[in-house]
Symmetry: C2
Amino acid sequence: MAAPTALTVNYTRIQTLTSYFQHCRRSKRWINLKTVNRRSPFCQSLKRHVATVVSGTELARQIHKEVQSDIAKLVAQGNRRPHLSVILVGDDHASHTYVRNKTRTASLLGMSSSTIFRPSSVSQEEMLELIYKFNKDRSISGLLVQLPLPAHINERAICNAVAPEKDVDGFHIVNIGKLCLDQRCMVPATAAAVWEIIRRTGIETVGKNVLVVGRSKNVGMPIAMLLHSDRNHERPGGDATVIMAHRCTPLPRLKELASLADVVIAAAGVPHLITADMVKEGAAIIDVGINRMQDPVTGKLRLVGDVDFEAVKEKAGFITPVPGGVGPMTIAMVMKNTVTAAKNAPTY
Amino acid sequence: MAAPTALTVNYTRIQTLTSYFQHCRRSKRWINLKTVNRRSPFCQSLKRHVATVVSGTELARQIHKEVQSDIAKLVAQGNRRPHLSVILVGDDHASHTYVRNKTRTASLLGMSSSTIFRPSSVSQEEMLELIYKFNKDRSISGLLVQLPLPAHINERAICNAVAPEKDVDGFHIVNIGKLCLDQRCMVPATAAAVWEIIRRTGIETVGKNVLVVGRSKNVGMPIAMLLHSDRNHERPGGDATVIMAHRCTPLPRLKELASLADVVIAAAGVPHLITADMVKEGAAIIDVGINRMQDPVTGKLRLVGDVDFEAVKEKAGFITPVPGGVGPMTIAMVMKNTVTAAKNAPTY
């Protein structure tokens, strides 16, 4: 570019000045874009901020395509068709719904599956025998036991009985140990779902403050583990500064920490825990909560998350809905884990 | 108490007023205790705030007494004398010092011990054979492999080879898994040391903000695991809101989070990382850092922690020194773990 003269300097200045202004056809006025955010809310030509709603259903479809393609390749290469076996104890309505969703999705993707039902009165020994049988069965790629189990059964003993290489839920003590050591392993599906939502949406985590609300061993703890660890390790992590909050965190402190968080992951099981006043403007809000609430008007039961969705979406940068957010992604990650187990299975 | 009359009310008021004042013999003045902190720093009769320096050496002595008593009881009951075996590879000066401290302390407490030296050229197979031999040796209660190991040896494979019930370092994948699931297990010694310092000093953690700086799998991660988990679980936790910071946490954000922390645990390996401007007044500062610095004046090598001790002690409520803080406690917890292993060993 030639050396600036008085004329070019003024011309550039005019160009810059005019680029600050946009003509609004509706109000027939020029709007100064630099002051747009300070303008009166009555000015209708302003674009109101609304978060990007991240569709878990859409992301899950992407993952389904990948899984379908992997399965087709495996079968074409002469391998067994991947098979997911689910053990379901008792009559809990929610558990039956979750299992039905998993096996239906498995079929859609070209996987075979089976559900083995047992009454709530089943003994721990019967369950262990069943698990040992399935461990040895080479036609079964992935095995999961739908939780929760009846009180008389030791859940830990059951989770540790599933062969680690078939443990698509990632709850075996060796898989938990590997997860916490950043080694390659079966990552628990909900945590893996949150990870994929963050990655595929392009949400930054390196050096960011990430608040995880909820410390359950199946969800909150694995999420914290994934997000704080080193991105250069065998099982890459998010390199985020992770804040682990839970039911012993006083509410004022939770609000204070939430106001500093770039990403909030709510996995507490408390409806409307995360409100608009708590979150930082532009933050990413991942709602893992699944709460069944009775609608005060219609009397119907509906699913809500831990986040006050309508209010928070006016402030956040990204938000996941409930339903249609983490839920479908969790199922997709169970499918991914089953295919991984099938790929790693011995071929003899 | 009788209903207050004008006379009793005034008398109570005078009592209350006079209790606010203390006569200072030095300056021959009455000091209003309510305004003491707002007084001029030139007033020498003011007590300057200095943190309680928590002596790890003293706390370790308490633990040594407990261990000595446990060993005496075990032996009196006709059990084998607890025995700690340490495998030491190579010539690293610091490793040799640590191992010498451990075996010397073991002797002091009535435990037998042995150190097995191998050159840095030892192969992984030789090490595994040695570990398997010691696993089967009933006279050995606890077995530890001093880290770090030479680069050609897979540390993870070595840690997983030690029998979990003899793993006094708590690094076996099953012990890490149990730690992360709040189950009873061998807790890694440094994390156990930090826990004991906090408990025995009476530092509150329930509902408090605890900043852990450093995320190593041997130190930072286990500390975070112990402090955030539920105090009612099989392996009780601290119920604290834990913030996991590390080398990817930008310094301004570290300072911001440190200013909110009631407890700061520095395990980063960076001298003078934690400075007085960062910490909250009255916070508890646990310095896990071990850094060898050359004194600019004398040219001698000396040990410093991650905390700017002299400056921070003017502001903190509690502080651990380096040396003489976490170090002696770590050795004491290795001794505790060895006795636990001896108590749990099969007697056949």
